[in-house]
């Protein structure tokens, strides 16, 4: 009995080994093709399973939309038409996996650019992207540490989050009052935000309560933390993590009788929050400007295409929109550099590319310049105050410097 099953399992093992070999050979063949002249791979490593999967999928959606549109328009490099391919790998939000994914994309698929949407992962990738292998990292994070690293092959897409602290504080003090309760999330990024808001609030002579941060991902019932924060009788409340749990916290606060204003961290998007709770619960809050409130030349078409692809019940967020723009910038930079395999040349051409990108790819605060450290900047950055009539009021932002 035992020997029979052992025999069978050996045969199975042999079949599995042969099968794996065949598959990997096929994969190598595919990879080799994509490196040869007429196509170029843009790599993406992000969380596609586990707790961060929704975020990773939103980013991927923007990349896919951009690749489809660019290929439909036709990309020409050095006189030759080139097809852009997107290759995505799952890193489950783990920086070490992200770094090995990036290495793999650069080595096996000869990707000149790898996109990553997570500060920790980007820091790990920055250790390997300008040494033995060379590739540009397209960084979707608002953590300024990414550009402070002085990595020559980095392009940081969103604004520095520290720029938001001042306008958020001003708006919340004007509409709420001087006393702030802290109910942010316990992620590393959430803690950076809590600190930035605390510093700014104190600098503006406000009073800050205890740090009531909770882990938005593991709390089963938000009523407890909300009751605790409200026991401080605050005039304003700092909240924010992923959009949906943030919306639930604000709804709970309104239910428990909180009537003042909210500061909503940039990770949460007001329009996305309105899909899980009544927008009435979200009023009197200051947050980042939702994508559908922008009036860039390509915004409307982008939103139509997004609705076609994602369905009516999803709303476009900056994760999708900014990465859509990001790929268009990279493609234009490749055209200007006349190269798909020299990341330094591509990085060097980004500045000039910004002026030449087609209007249809300008959807959400399209950048006008890139700093020496690789940060894309849009001088007309705005945030939004959602007033009692459920209208978004735009508030201009004075951006802070990236240097410490």
């Amino acid at each position: 009995m035992i020997s029979v099953s052992r025999n069978r399992s050996r045969r199975l093992l042999a079949a599995a080994v042969v099968g794996t070999f065949a598959l990997s050979l096929a994969a190598c063949g595919g990879g080799g093709d994509s490196g040869s002249g007429d196509s170029v791979v843009i790599g993406y490593t992000g969380p596609l399973s586990g707790g961060g999967a929704a975020y990773g999928e939103n980013v991927k959606m923007g990349l896919e939309m951009a690749v489809d549109d660019l290929n439909a328009d036709g990309v020409e490099i050095d006189g030759n038409p080139v097809t852009i391919e997107l290759k995505s790998l799952d890193d489950k939000y783990a920086p070490s996996t992200a770094a090995s994914n990036a290495q793999r994309l650069a080595d096996q698929d000869e990707a000149p650019v790898v996109v990553s949407p997570n500060a920790g992962a980007i820091k790990a990738i920055q250790q390997i992207n300008s040494g033995r292998s060379n590739f540009l990292v397209s960084a979707y994070t608002s953590d300024p540490a990414i550009v402070q690293a002085d990595n020559p092959l980095t392009m940081m897409i969103p604004p520095n989050f520290e720029s938001y602290a001042k306008p958020f504080t001003e708006q919340a003090m004007e509409h709420g009052g001087k006393k702030l309760a802290l109910l942010g999330t316990q992620s590393e990024y959430g803690q950076q935000w809590t600190k930035a808001i605390t510093d700014e609030w104190k600098a503006s002579d406000g009073e800050v309560g205890a740090d009531n941060s909770v882990d938005y991902a593991t709390v089963s019932d938000f009523a407890g933390p909300v009751s605790k924060a409200l026991a401080e009788k605050p005039d304003a409340m700092f909240v924010g993590g992923p959009s949906q749990p943030t919306a639930l916290i604000m709804e709970e606060a309104r239910k428990q009788g909180f009537e003042r204003s909210f500061i909503v961290m940039d990770q949460a998007k007001l329009n996305e929050m309105a899909t899980v709770t009544d927008i009435e619960n979200l009023t009197k809050s200051v947050g980042v400007l939702p994508v559908d409130e922008y009036e860039d030349p390509g915004t409307e078409d982008f939103l139509t295409k997004f609705a076609d692809k994602a369905g009516e019940d999803k709303v476009a967020t900056s994760e999708t929109a900014l990465n859509y723009q990001g790929v268009a910038i990279i493609a234009k930079a490749m055209e200007l550099a006349g190269s798909t395999d020299d990341p330094e040349k591509i990085r060097g051409s980004i500045g000039d590319a910004l002026a030449e990108v087609d209007d249809k790819y300008k959807v959400t605060g399209f950048p006008t310049e890139i700093t020496d450290q690789g940060h894309l900047l849009n001088q007309e950055l705005e945030v939004a105050y959602l007033d009692e009539d459920e209208k978004y009021n735009k508030v201009p932002v004075e951006q802070v410097s990236d240097t410490k």
Partner: protein, 288 residues
Amino acid sequence: MTLFIQQLFNGLALGGVYCLAAIGLTLVFGVLRIPNLAHGALYMLGAYVTYFFLATLGVPYLAAIGIAALVLFVVGVGLERLVFHPLRNSPHTHHMIAAVGAMFFFQSLAQVIWGADFRRMDTPITGSLHILGAEISAQRIVIIITAVVVLALLTWFIKRSIHGQTIEAIEQDRTGAALVGINPSMVSMLTLGLSALLATIAAGLVSPINLLSPTMGDALNLKVFAIIILGGLGSLPGAIIGGFALAIAETMTSTYISSAVGEAVAFIVLVAVLAIRPTGLFTKAVQR
């Protein structure tokens, strides 16, 4: 004082959910002698199936929970037949690895079917009650009442009904029970099905005040293990008292000490129990 009352009710509602989830786990441990690491995934799946009946098919809320609980009963039986039964004679580590595998399978399945996005389950139960100055939402009252009713029914089932008594018999002595004609295989299926059913009721009750996501079971999984270790592995009253005790400890420490301590309290309790009284409050399970 108002804050205390408010948090007490929040703690009781959370305790009801923890209890329902923990009892299933402790029953499975008592009968099959395995820590079912896929329990949180069954809870998650239960929430999604409830969501499917409620939001997609338009079945009324409580009926949707009931139907989903029956569906998950079948899933639980299937899990026992396809995963744990074939491994019944292998070393214990195999069960654990298989359970982790099942957990990842269920998570991926949910992501494929319902997507990675958070989902919100709306219920017809809205409004809130004023009790001693505190504002308690009706949903939490429903959670507390349903949990008590289900726990009473379960106790009756295990103590009085013939099928339920077989569960207890197998827990006490597998060989002896088999000798008097109880089929251990049937009881194993019944127990796993029952544990998935209870987890689904818990998930269906808590979903309206939280969000659905394929990883929603992970946090609960850790906590229910802490609860059944606190209560004593395999002990029914242990799971009930452990569930409420842990939930109230969690809300109260979050309120009066800090949120960080509140999150950690389950694990502080876990370490303390293992160090001081490893058999738990209600000694029942004896490793055989």
